[in-house]
Each structure stands twice: as structure tokens, then as C-alpha cells.
């Protein structure tokens, strides 16, 4: 009996000792590698680094918006809403169709007989596209919850996950059957033409900062701030936090739990919809598969930042975007392997700090 206990003691001490050691070894190797690539090989000049960073930031902003949706839903229902990426895709289609419609309405002037509504009222068009995308995504979030998840409120989480996978497959294939498998070009208003922007000189070389990129980044920052205010300052936000803490107690305190969950899904859907329309504007291609990869990435980002934690999702999103854009270059490996870097970092984060970067530390024996 004594023997077994002694063995166990030593095992524990070993694992407690191993973890920081591995962390230290890996991080010092990574740091050395980055140092070598950036300062010794000097493959890239500063302007290229700036380009990487810009591209990472923009992508990260979108990931962050989608990741917030995952985190909100996870925080409240402890479920991975696999269909979240598809909600974003529906939002993107909403924006696409509005742009197509406006590009169809002629508003000829003397100067330009081919002028369409899209370019005569660009700001209005963009706003309406966002309204459409956000509404569609919000509604699909709402109906998704109502039809698929609400009847399973008491079911084990695995059942919920399967339902979410089912919803994801169904939505994706529905979109494919409706709109066809090929990627569609999104026509932007002239003022937000892709590949146009401000040229900035970095170490003597011009770096193009696109209007669409700045637009997406600023908008996602604004939306994140807005969301933060909603969660922290409003009654709905308080109810959401209460439900996340403890559904039963919240219900006893007079919070309508179903209603709060519904609204959470609407909010997360709306954010995904906004990300979808941004995707339209910045990336310019949309099809039924548009939401899937960003969905998985955003989920990764949410976990990395600490799932259930809103600032964590934002940080995770930006970090993941940066890792994808800057990581391969900084480590001097192929861009094909950017997802390998992202997922490896994810696994390392989980091993070293299971609750994510900003997540609250879990005690190992939570009863």
C-alpha cells in the first residue's frame, strides 16, 4: 500500500515538473528560430513584415467576430455551435444578393449613363447590405436555436454537438443546392474597390493599405466594443452573464432563460453576419463553403483565448490571424503549413494553460 502511494506521489511531481520544462524548451526553440529567421537570414525587409501583419490583422478581426459567437454560445450553453460558420455564410450570401440587386438597378446620370444604384448611393448600399446580412444571420441563429437546440435543453452535450453538426451539413448543402457550388464574385461599390487603398512608405518601399481592409478592421473593432458594452452595461448583458454562471439560479431570480439564450444566439448570429458581409467586401468570393473554414478557425481562436471569455475570443482571433499570416514567415517555413502552426500553438496553449490565454484558471479537481 505504501508502495503505490509513493509511486503516485513521484508521478505527480514528475508531471508537474515536466510541463513547465516542455513549455520552456519549446518556447525557447521557437524564439531562437524566429530570431534566426528575422535577424540572421533577413529574408524579408520591414515592408514585407508590415504587409504580413496587415493581412493578419484583417483576417484576425473577422476571426474575432466569429469567435465571439462561439464563445457567447459556449459560455451560456456549454455547446460547440458547429453551425456557426454556416450562419456566417448565410450572412455573406445576404450581403452578396443586396450588392447584386443594387448593381442591377440603373440610376443613369448625364455624366455616367451606366451608373447603378450601387455606385450612386454607395454608403446606403453598404449599410443596407450589412442590414440584410446581419438580419439574415441573426434570424438563422434564432431559428437554429429554436428548431434544433431548444428541444434539447436538457440533453447531454454530445447530442447537442451532433445536432449542430447536422445543422451545419444541412445548411451548407442547402446553400449549395440553392446557389450552386461555384464561388461567386461580389461586386463592391467603387468607393470600396478591392486592391485600392492608401500607399504608405515603409523603409522606403510602398505598402498598400486597402480601403476594404481598414474598413473591415475598424468595423470589427467597433462591433466588438459595442458587444462589450452590451454585455457589461445592459440588462440583457447582465442576464446573459447570470445565465452563463448558473441557469437555475438565474431562473429563480426572474431571468427568462430561454429568452436570454435566444437573444444570445441572435447576437452571435448578427456578429457572424457582419463578419460575412465583411468577408464579401474584403475577400470578394462567396459560396456555400465560405463559412466552414473560418468557422473552424474562429472556434480555434475562441478556445485559444479561453472559451466562454469574450475578450479572450477577441485576442484569440487576432492572434490566430497574425499566426497564420506572420507565423510561417517568422519561423521560415512554407505557407502551406500555416494551419499546422496555428493548431500546434492551440495544442500547446491547451497543454500549458487548459483554460486558454484569458480564461479563468480551473482548479484541477472541480467538483
Amino acid at each position: 500500500m505504501k508502495n503505490t502511494s509513493d509511486q503516485n506521489i513521484s508521478k505527480i511531481k514528475l508531471s508537474k515538473f515536466l510541463r513547465p520544462l516542455i513549455t520552456f524548451l519549446i518556447s525557447s526553440f521557437l524564439l531562437y528560430r524566429i530570431y534566426e529567421v528575422v535577424f540572421i537570414r533577413q529574408q524579408f525587409t520591414p515592408d514585407i513584415w508590415v504587409r504580413f501583419a496587415i493581412s493578419g490583422l484583417i483576417l484576425g478581426g473577422m476571426y474575432a467576430l466569429i469567435a465571439i459567437g462561439y464563445t457567447l454560445v459556449y459560455g451560456i450553453m456549454f455547446m460547440i455551435n458547429f453551425a456557426h460558420g454556416e450562419v456566417m455564410m448565410l450572412g455573406a450570401f445576404g450581403g452578396y444578393f443586396i450588392f447584386e440587386l443594387f448593381n442591377f438597378i440603373p440610376t443613369p446620370t448625364v455624366a455616367d449613363p451606366d451608373l447603378t444604384f450601387l455606385n450612386s448611393q454607395p454608403i446606403l448600399s453598404i449599410i443596407l447590405a450589412f442590414v440584410a446580412g446581419v438580419t439574415i444571420a441573426g434570424l438563422s441563429g434564432y431559428f437554429l436555436e429554436k428548431i434544433a437546440y431548444r428541444p434539447l435543453r436538457k440533453a447531454p452535450r454530445l447530442i447537442l454537438l451532433i445536432t449542430a453538426i447536422g445543422a451545419s451539413t444541412a445548411l451548407q448543402n442547402l446553400a449549395m443546392l440553392l446557389f450552386g457550388p461555384t464561388r461567386k464574385n461580389v461586386i463592391n461599390p467603387m468607393i470600396l474597390e478591392r486592391s485600392a487603398g492608401w500607399s504608405v512608405l515603409v523603409s522606403g518601399k510602398p505598402v498598400l493599405i486597402t480601403y476594404t481592409g481598414v474598413f473591415s478592421l475598424v468595423l470589427s473593432a467597433l462591433l466588438m466594443v459595442a458587444l462589450y458594452l452590451v454585455v457589461q452595461k445592459t440588462k440583457l448583458g447582465r442576464s446573459m452573464r447570470a445565465v452563463a454562471q448558473d441557469k437555475n439560479t438565474a431562473a429563480l431570480m426572474g431571468v427568462d432563460v430561454d429568452d436570454v439564450i435566444s437573444k444570445t444566439f441572435i447576437i452571435s448570429g448578427m456578429l457572424a453576419g457582419a463578419a460575412g458581409v465583411m468577408w464579401d467586401i474584403h475577400m470578394g468570393l462567396v459560396n456555400h463553403y465560405t463559412g466552414f473554414l473560418p468557422g473552424i478557425k474562429a472556434f480555434t481562436a475562441a478556445v485559444m483565448g479561453g472559451i466562454g471569455n469574450i475578450p479572450g475570443a477577441m485576442l484569440g482571433g487576432i492572434l490566430l490571424g497574425m499566426l497564420e499570416a506572420v507565423g510561417p514567415a517568422a519561423l521560415g517555413i512554407d505557407f502551406q503549413l500555416k494551419d499546422v502552426i496555428a493548431f500546434t500553438i492551440l495544442i500547446l496553449v491547451l497543454i500549458v494553460r487548459p483554460s486558454g490565454i484569458l480564461g479563468e484558471k480551473l482548479s484541477e479537481e472541480k467538483l
Binding site: A155, I165, N173, D339, L346, I351
Partner: protein, 517 residues
């Protein structure tokens, strides 16, 4: 007549209206109709053209719509009026939907706007069919009429079946027998008839030996795939079904097994050409070791970490396999060709029939081990961890090592499946190991009945066999599959064949089960 009672009709109408809209705009009305026309066209209904078939289809939809509207529980049981009124309202709403679809898309057809740029599946033929080959307004009017009349009839029928006592009994009986058949937990009869058991085993054995020889290579291929998915299901069931740890990236272990086997037996890139059986063993061990290694740092945590980490691992492995960096080692995006087949006593056995036998043997062996483990000490420990990890630990179960064992065994089975898969196809490549494989495996375990071994067989057949057989509706199968998953989780979350606990208390059972287990 209160407002509330008409709500049912309106809702049913809207739901059916949306269904018909989706069916039309995904082109399913056309394809499905063609399929039906083909089927009954050969059976002597030669006079029916496809438009008449479509009328029948719409009539059936209308009847269903009406009966749904009238059958909602909110309607008082025996009142005729609310039922009929609801049916009419449902028909009205449904009719308006059909009318609007007809008029809108019919007009589009006439003014020659090609809507296919945006909605690819709305072809002129499809629209023509929807209009019964009439003008938009007339077609719409037909639709409206059909919807109204059939919904009314449907509501009336539903009301009639409900109020008619003998019919009610009949329905109740058939429902009960259906649920009995599908194995609800209470009907575990102890079949004492040993001879019956042995006889059925013998029949099964005979079938397994004879059938692969009788059906052609196509069916051997299809059921070979099903067999490999059964293996995957059995493996995943250990860690997810029994130990309760969700693994999303199960395909990672499948890939490890397939690749380590293929690298050892393929002529390129390394030309090692090992013996099949040794390579198979190496594949299994390599997968098991990868499971162990990934489990070591993760399994002492609780929650969805394993799910997320394996998800990442699966992607990492797939990307690395096809990367430029490892092309010389793994064959890159092309994968590995000419993967070795099985040999027995120096003879290579490569015919699809022999391989089918090999798969059947593998499935039998793994099934057998799975049965043995299920209710053993180890199996109970896994299930205890699944149900309440804290208490399981406090009853003296080393949850960490138990979970690690489950993951390792699970990965080993996936490795076996992967090696067999590669060997059968004589090929393996990175795209064989996409995330969709893991999602399919999770779904088949759940659909069949989580934790239940016969359920896995059923699930594998439903998920991999049926779609292969129904290749005609290829485009729609994933949509249908997704919807089915949602519906299934709502109405039968425990799966088709829910798992049952063994009976251990009564002495009569002890004689048998005690020995058998």
C-alpha cells in the same frame, strides 16, 4: 372558434409552404419526380406523364399538410369544426405559397430572365413541371385548388382516423409493435432457447461465408467500406461511447495507421515492401502510440479538450502529409500508390472476395473484443468515468490511466481500419483523411445508439451503405443526412438501438451471463 386553434393550421401551412419552396428551388421536385416517374413508368402506369405524377405528388403533400394541421394536440380531441377549419387554413396558406411560387417563377420563365445565375437548380424544365405545363396563373390556380381541396381532405381524414375507435386501437397497436421492434429498453426477454441462438449464429456464419462470393465486386466494395466504418465506429465507441471523451479528430489515428502501413508496403517512396501482416501490426501499434502520446498531456484534464486537441491533430497530420516539406517522405499530395495486399503462406490474396473475408474477420475480432470489454472491470470503469468522473475517481478508479487506455485502444482500432482501408484501395492519400471522415464516424456511433455495439453496425450501414446505394440522389444526400441528424436527435436521441445494461442480479441469469462475460 378561438384564435389559437387556427394557429396550427397557419403554422402547418407555412412549414409546408417553405418545404415546397425549398424543394422547388433545390430542383428536388424535378429530380424526385423523374425518379418516381421512372419507377412507376416501368410498372404499367405508362399513360402517366411526369406532370400527372407531379399532381399526385402535390396531392400527397396537401393531404399531409391538412392532416398535420388537424392532428396538432392543441385541438380538442373530438371536435370536428376546429380540425376542418385548421385544415382549410393550412391549405389556404400552402396554396398561397404555391401560387406565389408559380406566378413568380412562371413569369421569370416567360420574360426569359435566367434565374439560374443565382439559384442554379431552377431550370426551365423544373418550372414547367411546377406549373403542370400551364401558364403561370393557371398553374398557380391549379396549385391553389389542389392545396385547398387536399388539405381539407387531409384534415378530414385525420379527424376521422382519430375519432374512429377501432382505427385508433389499430394505430396504437402498430406503434407499440414498432417501438418493440426497435428495441426499447424494457423488452429484454431472456431468450432461453439455446438451440435457437446457435442456429441463428450458424445461419449468420453461413451467410458471411457465402454472400461475399455471390454478390459482385461492387457490393463487396460497398460493404467493405461499411465494414471499415464499422471498425472505426467500434473504435471510437470505446473512447466516446463508453469513456465519454469526445474525439472530433478521430481520423488522425486512421491516417497514422493507413500511412505507416502504406509506407512500409508501398514500392515508392521508400520501397520497403514489408510483409503485410508485420506492416499491419506496425500500423496498429503506430496508431496506438500516437493515441497514447496525444492523450498523455491532455487526458488529466476534463471537458472538451480532447475533442479540440484531436481536431487540431487531425488537421496537422493531413496538412503535413500533403506538404511540400514531407513530399519525399510521404508521397505528398499524390499519396502512396500500389500499397501492398495481404499474403497468406507466401500467396498474395488480392481478390475483392478475399479482402471482404479479411474485413469480416477483422470486424468479428474487434467486435468480439469489444463485447468482452464492455461489461468487464475496465468497461465499467470507463462507463463510470463517463457518468461522473469525480465519483469514479473517489471509488478508486484511476481515471487518467483508464482514459489513456481507452484512447490507446481506440486509436489502435482506427489504425487497423486505416491499414485495411489503404490495403484494399491499394492507395492512400491525404484527402482520404479529411475531417469529414471523423464527423461521419461520430454520427454513425450516435445514430446507431451510443455505446451499443449492434447500433454501430446499423449506423455504419445507414451512413456509408445507404448513400452508396442511393447514388442517384447524390446531390441531395448530404442535405437529407443533415436534416435527418437534427430530426433524429429530437425524436430519438438515444439512437436506433439504445444500449442496455446487463442483468446480473437474478441467479438464473448468473449461470449464463456470469460465464459468458
Amino acid at each position: 372558434m378561438s384564435n389559437l386553434s387556427l394557429k396550427n393550421g397557419r403554422n402547418a401551412g407555412i412549414v409546408f409552404g417553405i418545404i415546397i419552396l425549398i424543394m422547388f428551388s433545390t430542383g428536388f421536385t424535378l429530380i424526385g419526380n423523374q425518379l418516381v416517374a421512372k419507377l412507376i413508368g416501368n410498372e404499367g402506369f405508362k399513360g402517366l406523364d411526369q406532370f400527372k405524377v407531379f399532381v399526385i405528388f402535390m396531392v400527397l403533400m396537401g393531404l399531409w399538410n391538412g392532416s398535420t394541421a388537424a392532428r396538432k394536440p392543441a385541438i380538442a380531441k373530438d371536435e370536428m369544426m376546429p380540425a376542418i377549419a385548421n385544415g382549410l387554413v393550412a391549405g389556404l396558406v400552402f396554396g398561397v405559397f404555391s401560387l406565389v411560387i408559380s406566378v413568380f417563377f412562371g413569369t421569370m420563365l416567360i420574360i426569359k430572365v435566367d434565374i439560374r445565375n443565382y439559384l442554379v437548380n431552377i431550370s426551365p424544365e423544373s418550372t414547367k413541371l411546377f406549373l403542370f405545363d400551364q401558364t403561370p396563373v393557371l398553374g398557380g390556380a391549379y396549385h391553389f385548388g389542389i392545396a385547398l381541396i387536399t388539405s381539407f381532405a387531409g384534415a378530414f381524414l385525420a379527424h376521422f382516423t382519430r375519432t374512429n375507435q377501432s382505427l385508433r386501437n389499430f394505430i396504437a397497436n402498430s406503434k407499440r409493435s414498432v417501438s418493440d421492434f426497435s428495441g426499447s429498453p424494457k423488452v429484454v426477454s431472456t431468450v432461453n432457447n439455446q438451440y435457437f441462438k446457435i442456429a441463428s449464429y450458424l445461419v449468420l456464419a453461413a451467410l458471411l461465408i457465402i454472400i461475399p462470393r455471390q454478390w459482385g465486386s461492387y457490393w463487396n466494395y460497398v460493404f467493405g467500406t461499411v465494414g471499415i466504418y464499422v471498425l472505426l465506429g467500434l473504435g471510437l465507441n470505446i473512447i466516446t461511447g463508453w469513456a465519454g471523451q469526445l474525439v472530433i479528430g478521430y481520423v488522425a489515428f486512421f491516417a497514422v495507421g493507413a500511412y505507416s502501413f502504406s509506407l512500409l508496403t508501398s514500392p515508392a517512396p521508400h520501397n520497403l515492401m514489408w510483409n503485410f501482416w508485420i506492416a499491419l501490426a506496425v500500423g496498429v501499434v503506430a496508431a496506438a502510440v500516437s493515441g497514447l502520446l496525444i492523450g498523455l498531456p491532455i487526458l488529466n484534464l476534463r471537458g472538451d479538450y480532447l475533442a479540440i486537441v484531436t481536431l487540431g491533430l487531425a488537421e496537422i497530420i493531413r496538412i503535413l502529409l500533403k506538404s511540400d516539406m514531407l513530399t519525399d517522405f510521404t508521397g505528398g499530395p499524390r499519396g502512396l500508390q500500389k500499397v501492398g495486399g495481404p499474403t497468406l503462406l507466401g500467396n498474395s490474396i488480392t481478390s475483392d472476395i478475399d479482402f471482404m473475408y479479411l474485413i469480416i474477420i477483422a470486424v468479428l475480432v474487434v467486435t468480439f473484443f469489444a463485447y468482452r470489454l464492455q461489461n468487464s472491470r475496465t468497461g465499467k470503469a470507463w462507463y463510470a468515468i463517463n457518468l461522473d468522473e469525480t465519483v469514479a475517481r473517489a471509488t478508486g478508479i484511476n481515471a487518467y490511466s483508464s482514459k489513456l487506455l481507452a484512447l490507446t485502444l481506440s486509436a489502435a482500432v482506427a489504425g487497423l481500419a486505416g491499414a485495411l482501408f489503404a490495403s484494399r484501395n491499394q492507395f492512400t492519400g491525404p484527402d482520404d483523411h479529411a475531417l469529414m471522415v471523423s464527423i461521419n464516424v461520430i454520427c454513425l456511433v450516435i445514430v446507431g445508439g451510443i455505446g451499443n455495439i449492434p447500433g454501430i453496425f446499423l449506423g455504419a450501414f445507414a451512413l456509408k451503405g445507404l448513400p452508396e446505394i442511393l447514388r442517384e440522389i447524390e446531390n441531395y444526400r448530404l442535405l437529407v443526412f443533415g436534416v435527418l441528424l437534427i430530426v433524429m436527435m429530437r425524436i430519438r436521441p438515444e439512437g436506433f438501438l439504445p444500449s442496455q445494461r446487463p442483468k446480473l442480479e437474478h441467479p438464473i441469469d448468473l449461470a449464463k451471463s456470469g460465464k459468458e462475460e
